[in-house]
C-alpha cells in the first residue's frame, strides 16, 4: 500500500481508478481520462496534488543559499508573491529536480516533485551546510490545483470574500497567503488556474465543496496529457540527473547573470553551452494514426537518432504528439519507429496547446 493524501476516501467514493505514482496511491481517472482532459481545456477541473512536496526555506541566508542551490536566480523575486521556475542541478549540470519557488514574507516556499522527495530533501540539506537556513518540509499541508478557463471564477464563488478578492487580483505566476491558505496562480496544464496549498485538515471540506459545486475531479492521466500538450516537462521522463536543462528546453530558466553567481552545476553548464552539437528537446506530431510513446527511436536523416521522452494521444488535437530529444540540427521532419515500422512525423516547437488554443 502506498501513501495516501487526505482525499483518498473521496477519490474512491468518486469512482477513481487508483494507481501508484511515486509511492502514492493517486487517482488515474474517474471514468474517462479524455473527457477529463477536455473538461479542463473547456471549463475547469480540480486535481489532488497533495502528494507534491512543499518545503519552506527561511533564515538570514535563505537568499544566498537558494542563489547557490538553483540555476535560476531568486534575487529576481523583488516582492513577496513573485515566483519563478527553476532547475536544481548537480555538479555535472544534470537536473536533480525542477521546482517552483515563491518569495514569501518569511522566506521562500518551494514546491518540488513527489517522486523525488527524499532525494531532494537530502540534497538540499547537504548543500545548506555553512548557510544559516532552516529547511522545513510541510507535510502538514495539502494541495489542490483548480485549472481551466473558468477556474478562478469558480473558486471565487466558494471561498471567503477576502480569498475571492485575492483570487481575482493575482497575476499569472503570483502566489500569496490569505489566512492559513497559500494561493498561487500557477499550474501544470497550460490553462489559467490556481494551486492552493492549505492545511491538510481543511482539504477534504474544500475538495467536497468544489465537487458539490459541479467542478469535475481530474486524475493524473489527464494531468499528463494536459502538461504534454502545454509542452511542460515531466521530471524523470523529459529530464533527469543525466540531462542538462540546455537539452530539455529549459535554457530560459538558467540565470547566467550576474556572472559571479556560483550556482551548483554552473561550470558544467558553461561548457555545454558552447557545444553547438548538444541535443535539443522538440515537439513531434504524428500525422498518421498511431500513438507515439516514450523511448521510441526518432531517426533524423543523416544527423542520427534521438528518442521520445514523453508521448501520448493529444485529446485536443485528436492525434498523437510527443516530446523528443534529437540531434542539434534537426529540421522540421523526422521518422519514428513504432512496432518495427517507420512513421513520418512533423517536428515542431514543444508547445502544442496553450489557453485552449492550438499552436502548431
Amino acid at each position: 500500500m502506498g501513501q495516501r493524501t487526505p482525499l483518498y476516501d473521496q477519490h474512491l467514493a468518486l469512482g477513481a481508478k487508483m494507481v501508484d505514482f511515486g509511492g502514492w496511491d493517486m487517482p488515474l481517472h474517474y471514468g474517462s481520462q479524455v473527457e477529463e482532459h477536455h473538461q479542463v481545456r473547456r471549463d475547469c477541473g480540480v486535481f489532488d496534488v497533495s502528494h507534491m512536496t512543499v518545503v519552506d526555506v527561511t533564515g538570514p541566508q535563505a537568499q544566498t543559499y537558494l542563489q547557490h542551490l538553483l540555476a535560476n536566480d531568486v534575487a529576481r523575486l523583488d516582492s513577496p508573491g513573485k515566483a519563478l521556475y527553476s532547475a536544481m542541478l548537480n555538479e555535472r549540470g544534470g537536473v536533480v529536480d525542477d521546482l517552483i519557488v515563491y518569495l514569501t514574507d518569511a522566506g521562500y516556499r518551494l514546491v518540488v516533485n513527489a517522486s523525488t522527495r527524499d532525494k531532494d530533501l537530502a540534497w538540499m540539506q547537504a548543500r545548506a551546510e555553512g548557510h544559516a537556513v532552516e529547511i522545513r518540509e510541510r507535510a502538514d499541508l495539502a494541495m489542490l490545483a483548480i485549472q481551466g478557463p473558468s477556474a478562478r471564477e469558480r473558486v471565487a464563488e466558494l471561498v471567503s470574500a477576502a480569498r475571492a478578492e485575492l483570487v481575482q487580483a493575482l497575476k499569472p505566476f503570483q502566489g500569496l497567503p490569505q489566512g492559513d491558505w497559500f494561493i498561487g496562480r500557477t499550474g501544470y496544464t497550460g490553462e489559467d488556474g490556481l494551486e492552493i496549498i492549505l492545511p491538510a485538515d481543511q482539504a477534504q471540506a474544500f475538495f467536497g465543496e468544489l465537487i458539490g459545486a459541479g467542478v469535475s475531479p481530474i486524475g493524473l492521466g489527464a494531468r499528463d496529457t494536459l502538461r504534454l500538450e502545454a509542452g511542460l516537462n515531466l521530471y524523470g521522463q523529459d529530464m533527469d540527473e543525466d540531462v542538462s536543462p540546455l537539452s530539455a528546453n529549459m535554457g530560459w530558466t538558467i540565470a547566467w547573470e550576474p556572472a559571479e553567481r556560483a550556482f551548483v552545476g554552473r561550470g558544467a553548464l558553461q561548457t555545454m553551452r558552447e557545444d553547438k552539437n548538444r541535443p535539443k528537446l522538440v515537439g513531434l506530431v504524428l500525422e498518421e494514426r498511431g500513438v507515439l510513446r516514450a523511448h521510441q527511436v526518432v531517426r533524423v536523416g543523416e544527423l542520427g537518432e534521438g528518442e521520445i521522452t514523453s508521448g501520448s494521444f493529444s485529446p485536443t488535437l485528436g492525434k498523437s504528439i510527443a516530446l523528443a530529444r534529437v540531434p542539434a540540427g534537426t529540421g522540421d521532419r523526422a521518422e519514428v519507429e513504432i512496432r518495427g515500422k517507420w512513421y513520418p512525423v512533423r517536428v515542431v516547437k514543444p508547445t502544442f496547446v496553450r489557453q485552449g488554443k492550438v499552436l502548431i
Binding site: 481508478k17 488515474l28 481517472h29 474517462s32 492521466g221 498511431g290 500513438v291 494521444f313 498523437s320 512496432r339
Partner: protein, 129 residues
Amino acid sequence: MSNIPSDLRYAASHEWARLEADGSVTVGISDHAQEALGDVVYVELPEIGQQLTAGQEAGVVESVKAASDIYSPVSGEVIAVNALLTDSPEQVNADAYAGWFYRLKPSDTAELDKLLDAAAYKAACDADA
C-alpha cells in the same frame, strides 16, 4: 463490475470470440479489458485474407495510457475487419461486445471449446483484480 456475456467464449488474454450462425467467428476485447485500458484511441486490425493461428498476434489496441497486443483466440482466415474502429476507436469503450475487431473463418471450431466460458473468465478476472 464488468460485463461478461454468457454466450461468448474468452481467452485468458482478454479477447472474446463468438460463433456466428454462418460458422464464422467474431473477435473483440472484453469489457474488463477496455476498462483496464481506459480511453481507446487507436486500433490496428489484421488484414483480410491473413491466416492467424490461435494465440498469434492479430492487432494492437492503444489507449491514452498504453499499447496492448491482441491475440487471436482461434485459428483461421480473416474474412472481415471492423473498419468503423479506425475512425471511432472509442466504440470499444462504449460497448466492447458491439465494437468487434475482426471476423474469421475458423479452421477448427473445436478450438472454441478450449477457451474459457463466462464463469471461468470471470474467475480469471477476479483473480487479476
